[in-house]
Symmetry: C3
Subunit: 343 residues, 3 copies
């Protein structure tokens, strides 16, 4: 972490400093955890108590907010300014350009001179690595794969052969891109492997979580659209297409050949069956099970997934079901109805 004075920070954020400008700040922190050398932010009135009690040297606040017990910097959007402030303090891991002597690079692979290739990386034949790309230790780049400019691949990432990764893509540790799709033809009670000869394309500005798996297509492509963010332990099946600027939370699984539109939001542990079409801006609650096409902008929850409002009413009604059974029996008795299947 670097260090900044309150005055320097206010200038960088183009905010208005109220209080002591010489306070030395060493990094960002939450209101609760901040000490005298930290900057925190206060944007949501729910945190008024924490704001009153914080020991933070400086707090980023809204334009008309003051602070009784210390300095503050008034900003248009305190949260956005805080995110910016984090970047000022951050000591980024140094990616020194160059190839570690203990990496193995195929003679016909093309690695840009500004790229950083860590120890025990393997870059196979005909692969390409772009400008300022950082491959941490133990990364595997299969034959014919490409990694664009300014990408970061953390230790243990595997890109199988012919995978295409765009620019500014971040892939977290032990994610596997381009493993064979799960395709078998049943034949006499056994399963014969269908060769998986398609590829995976990851467009620009995608982020992929740790231990996530994105399978190569049987034929053609599995594709992740620009700007989409995928969390840890997500499964993306062969020939899936995901649009641009989607968010997919941890442990979700998307089965083969399903196509997902742009700007979709998918909660954690969601399952989406294969061969579906999900429209733009669709959203799914955590643990949903999606088994049919979904129209643009629709919000669904539950397993099987239903429109969110329907699901909510069912979930509220459900605990009353045992009592409902009792009530219907009472009615039947009163009416002298001879039940056939009811017990």
């Amino acid at each position: 972490m670097k260090s900044l004075t309150a005055r320097e920070l206010a200038e960088k954020l183009q905010g208005r400093l109220v209080g002591e400008g010489g306070i030395e700040l060493r990094g960002p922190a939450t209101l609760e955890e901040a000490q005298a050398d930290a900057v925190a932010f206060y944007a949501n009135p729910n945190y008024a108590t924490a704001y009153a009690a914080t020991k933070a040297g400086v707090v980023l606040v809204g334009r008309d907010v003051t602070r009784d017990n210390g300095a503050c910097i008034q900003c248009e959007n305190p949260y956005a300014s805080f995110v910016t402030a984090i970047e000022f303090f951050r000591t980024r891991p140094v990616h020194t350009a160059g190839i570690h002597p203990q990496a193995v690079i195929a003679p016909d692979a093309v690695v840009d001179a500004t790229a950083c290739i860590g120890p025990f990386c393997v870059i196979e034949s005909n692969a390409r690595v772009g400008r300022n790309a950082a491959l941490h230790a133990n990364v595997f780049i299969g034959a014919g794969s490409t990694v664009g400019d300014d990408c970061v691949l953390y230790p243990g990432v595997v890109l199988r052969e012919d995978t295409q990764v765009g620019h500014r893509v971040i892939i977290h540790s032990n994610a596997v891109i381009g493993a064979d799709g799960f395709g078998f033809a049943a034949q006499d009670g056994q399963y014969k492997k269908i060769p998986q000869v398609g590829i995976v394309i990851i467009e620009d500005d995608v982020e992929i979580g740790a231990n996530t798996t994105i399978d190569r297509a049987t034929l053609g492509q599995t594709r992740i659209g620009a700007g989409t963010k995928i969390d840890n332990l997500v499964q993306v099946g062969h020939n899936v297409t995901i649009g641009k600027h989607c968010v997919i939370v941890a442990q979700t699984g998307i089965a083969g050949s399903t196509s997902i539109g742009d700007e979709c939001r998918i909660g954690g542990q969601v399952g989406i069956v294969g061969h579906l079409k999900i429209g733009n801006r669709a959203a799914f609650g955590a643990q949903s099970g999606v088994a049919a096409d979904v129209a643009e902008g629709e919000i669904q929850s539950g397993s099987p997934a239903r429109p969110h409002s329907v699901w909510k009413r069912v979930e509220v009604a459900l605990p009353r079901l045992p009592d409902l059974l009792r009530r219907v029996r009472a009615i039947e008795e009163k009416l002298g109805i001879n039940k056939v299947n009811g017990k």
Copy 2:
């Protein structure tokens, strides 16, 4: 990809060429994506429009199907022939026999001379690797483990000590076979580790997906039967036994000591609790939660899992529950029934 003429392909597939035999083909593709140098297939009348519009150089079709705008090859089973055709075109990654100079092999490990051991592989004491086996980069084979003939282990696979892998097994990247089972004895509010001294046995022709975990037995064996195919991110607990020719889709979890029969089909994100017996040819829908023994051939869905037909009727009835509550209240009012617990 290699290249073949339409005539050569027809001969290899023992099909009947209708049209120009000299067309140069460079690989397989779907009807929609195929260009003039690709072979596609048409088996399902649902794709008639795509068939009429395809630009494929050649299409594999049924015995009595013709093509207006190009060449076709009439086959008994166009889909099966297409899978075979993929193999003709495929350029398999070359596994050159031999041990990469940057692999670490214990002096008493036995690696067949025809096996291919990639860079940064570790093969520990007493391990054995069979004929034509291919261990890609960064594969770890623990002490006493064996890998059979013609196996393929992709980068990052970990086989812990004493794991036995049969012939023609494929294990995808970062899968972990033989990690300790999750076994602890509660003792005074703390958990004491129960040593996991059993092993894992993977029989012939099994395929295991990326980032899947198969734990070693506490005592005895965890066993995956011949021909079984396991997708990505699946969890198999200690002492689980899975039969032959099963299919287990991504993100399913099977808890300790459960035994699963032959030819079972298990959907994605299924959970199966421990110590159960699942009969041969049982099948579970995606996201099922199986908490009791299941008889041979039974099909279940839902969480907790129920016979599929029961589950289906419940799922259809469920959205009507809020309305049912209203209707029963109306009946009670008409009958002047004084509800006790209903609101």
Copy 3:
């Protein structure tokens, strides 16, 4: 495996040997699998048939249990003694102190002389590894991270920068500790990455399963309390706090900033949404979906999770719902009620 006589084993376990003391024992086994050179245990009368039929050389039994067809050792707690016995027989993998010549250690990293660092490990700047710690092959320790005494990190484990791991911690293969939390700020329909500058703290005696992911905090800490045991493929989000002596079964996901108390028990495939407070000794059934705070000691099941007893009654009532619809229609017909929305 070592070997012991029945007499030696009885002495070590402080049990009473009944039968032949010279029997040579080579290891532990279950009643069903044990041969004449194995020791088994019998504690649960459900296994009386297996006990009567076992070929085990010696069986550990309760204080007043006898054996007709062989030797037994009478103990206070046969199961606990069996766990102890496993340890006597166990040949632990040898961790020879020292750094493998093919590991890459930063000049300013501090590795204790008694630690074992396997081939292709990478230990970055300022990292520390404690006494008797064993890092198997391909382990990555990021800059500034610490690994305490007597830890075991299996092949492929990744600790990102500034992760703090206590003493006697076991981390299984390909687990990723300290990857970036999943935090993005929506901005003009795109997602801007929020820098994740917090850390992960793993306290003493924790065990973490294979391919599990524990994300670093946005600010502050993600923390796993002492003695907590986490199974395979579990996701722990940024800024999550887990208390002491919890058990978390495979494929569970815990979203960001949730705090979990001490001695909680969390079943497999459970999902817990973010920003919740879960009290001490709470427990969740497998596949639960927890979406609200949970009080101390509460037991919940279902998705969305409800008190276990409520959930159980609903689950029992659910299959009767289709019949209930039929019965209510019959009542309405008898009463001449004109349904409005019912079909």
